[in-house]
Amino acid sequence: MRYLLKRLGFYLLAAWVAVTLNFFLPRLMPGDPATALFARFRGMLGPEALDALRETFGLTDAPLIVQYGTYLGHVLKGDLGISVAYFPAPVLEVIGQGLVWTIFLAGTSLIVSFTIGTLLGVAAAWWRFGRVDTFVPPAAALIGSFPYFWLAMVALYVFGFRLGWFPLGHAYSDYVTPGFNVAFIADVARHAVLPVGTVVIATLGGWLLTMRNTMVSVLGRDYVNLARAKGLSPRKVAMRYAARNALLPSVTGFGMALGFVLGGSLLTEIVFSYPGQGYILVQAVRSQDYPLMQGIFLVITLAVLGANFIVDILSMWLDPRIRDSVS
């Protein structure tokens, strides 16, 4: 428990550093968001409007330290400023919308890919040199080595454009009403098939190979031999004695991947025009939307830190050796 608190303290410190960097970086860059926004309206705003905008973005002439204090206060309140690209929507609101789709899309892909890949890895290692082991890992490695955007575009072209099985983009059709109804859910699922499918196919191989290789070495350990010698059923030996132990490195990888989920799968969302975090980030960069970029970076950082913390807890739960070495 003390260990977890210590870790938590570390993550809070890291979060503070991230927030601080987030404050200073844009101020070190030339140009400021207010000027950028001002330019977008091409002289339709007066100079006093520019000052008002600067005020909104916290770009006052006050000393840096005061600005920093105001900024911290705002961040703590969840006030990340106003988006330029989606003016006048607050950044938090824009991110919130993207986040929902990103969590759905990338989260589903990650869980599906991890589960299938890991199970295939177990099968490949257990029936070593068997059919799964002979064909699946090379195939997965081959597909995984294609550039992802190419894979996604081919899938989109073949299944979306040529065959017309799946929609070409967006998270749901215009004609369904968002809400908890069958039509909407079915539509969202249909829209998700291609993005999720391509991500799963592209990332499956990594999970598979990690699991397979760890599992192969675990299968050589004496405790697996002992489990077999004890007359346990093969299923029990494979899952409880071998796979359980071989899972540990994969869990770490899963946690890392989980952190990057919230960053959005940039390429996926661009190819499939999916309104997630990655898509919004690109919009933000295009329109020099500093507050939005800052907000997204902050969310990504916090997500990675949070995911790491979850991995800490998870591996303590899975591995008693870690539990003891830290308490």
Binding site: A229, K230, G231, K236, N245
Partner: protein, 368 residues
């Protein structure tokens, strides 16, 4: 043959490598009678552990059993299907692994590892007898007795048997209770049931291994160098415990070690392995007094005497024989240690170590 528990006939095990098969066990014949302690000695790489794993049929992939049969109570283990094999394992033949460090799963508590074994096999023979306090058995068996007082009215052996016969019906609760008693049996505090391997000392881990091996009251327990990783005091305590349990429960033991002296102390019969074959099988007494095979003589000579003024230990020169290019001739008439073969044109000059030019230790190829 009803009087034989295990009858290994003409067993061959090969390791398949890129350069062709390497024979790890070469036409081995060996028997185990009920209740006897058979010692299997030999140096590293001579095929001892391979033999143990072959009997359990848990040889890792590159190893293949290429011939012979292993008859257990007249049934060939090598011909059993998976389910027959699963039922035979542990119920009839169990094993204590060489490495106390690696034989227990690090992420599953020791108790669970005993419990799942018990549950995998269901129940033992029906018996409604309830054993008296398990702690008493532990106390009685602890050589450095810190345990509570032993029952004055029951002989130790009976208490052990009672413990094992105590319950029936394969429920998790029953299994946990029995696991606790098994820990008592090997002198580990009951509250260690929920411990993990890394929380136990090497000696304790090996005791858990022994408790586990006794869980199903098998008729044969294979001990594969059970004390290699332990210091001599713990080793002595554990071997004592094994002997007491063996005397009480009457199982046969296949005791594998490279420590010939230790083996001679506790074994009824001893088989000496040399380069994938049996060099000599003889009753322990006989072997100690009159070893026939030169390699056995060499092994015996390699151990220091405890008596003052005893002969200095003489080590066997050269490297252990390679199984990749095994010495071609191999039998009791071959020279193993100490003497250069006479009347051979290739004989080394006297005083030179008696091994061939490739550095392989002894039995020399016959001149052809």
């Amino acid at each position: 043959m009803p009087d034989l528990l295990l009858d290994i006939r003409d067993l061959c095990v090969d390791y398949v490598t890129d350069e062709g098969p390497v024979r790890a066990i070469d036409h081995l014949d060996l028997t185990v009678a009920p209740g006897e302690i058979l010692g299997v000695a030999g140096e590293s790489g001579s095929g001892k552990t391979t033999l143990a794993k072959a009997i359990m049929r848990i040889l890792p992939p590159p190893a293949v059993i290429t011939g012979g049969e292993i008859l257990f109570k007249g049934r060939d283990i090598l011909a059993m299907d998976d389910e027959e094999l699963r039922k035979m394992r542990w119920r009839e033949i169990s094993m204590v692994f060489q490495s106390a460090m690696d034989a227990l799963n690090p992420v599953i508590s020791v108790g669970e590892q005993i419990v799942d074994t018990l549950l995998a096999h269901g129940s033992g023979p029906m018996e409604s007898h309830v054993a008296p306090g398990g702690e008493q058995i532990a106390g009685a068996l602890m050589t450095h007795g810190a345990g509570p007082a032993e029952s004055p009215t029951l002989p130790v052996g009976e208490q052990i048997v009672d413990t094992l016969l105590a319950h029936d019906a394969a429920s998790a609760e029953w299994a946990r209770g029995r696991a606790r008693k098994l820990l008592d049996l090997v002198g580990i505090p009951r509250d260690r049931l929920d411990s993990f391997a890394h929380q136990l000392s090497g000696g304790m881990r090996q005791r858990v291994g022994i408790a586990l091996a006794l869980a199903m009251r098998p008729s044969i327990v294979i001990l594969d160098e059970p004390t290699t990783a332990l210091d001599v005091i713990v080793e002595t305590v554990i071997l004592e415990r094994i002997r007491e349990l063996q005397a009480a429960l009457g199982f046969a033991v296949i005791f594998i070690t490279h420590d010939l002296a230790r083996m001679l102390q506790i074994s009824d019969r001893v088989a000496v392995f040399y380069a994938a074959r049996l060099a000599e099988v003889a009753p322990a007494q006989e072997l100690r007094q009159a070893p026939r095979h030169p390699y056995t003589q060499g092994l015996l000579r390699a151990f220091p005497s405890v008596k003052p003024g005893g002969p200095e230990p003489v080590s066997i020169a050269g490297q252990p024989a390679s199984l990749r290019s095994p010495p071609s001739g191999l039998a009791a008439d071959e020279v193993a240690a100490g003497e250069a073969p006479a009347g051979e044109s290739a004989a080394p000059p006297s005083g030179a170590p008696p091994h061939p030019a490739d550095g392989t230790r002894a039995p020399r190829a016959r001149t052809s």
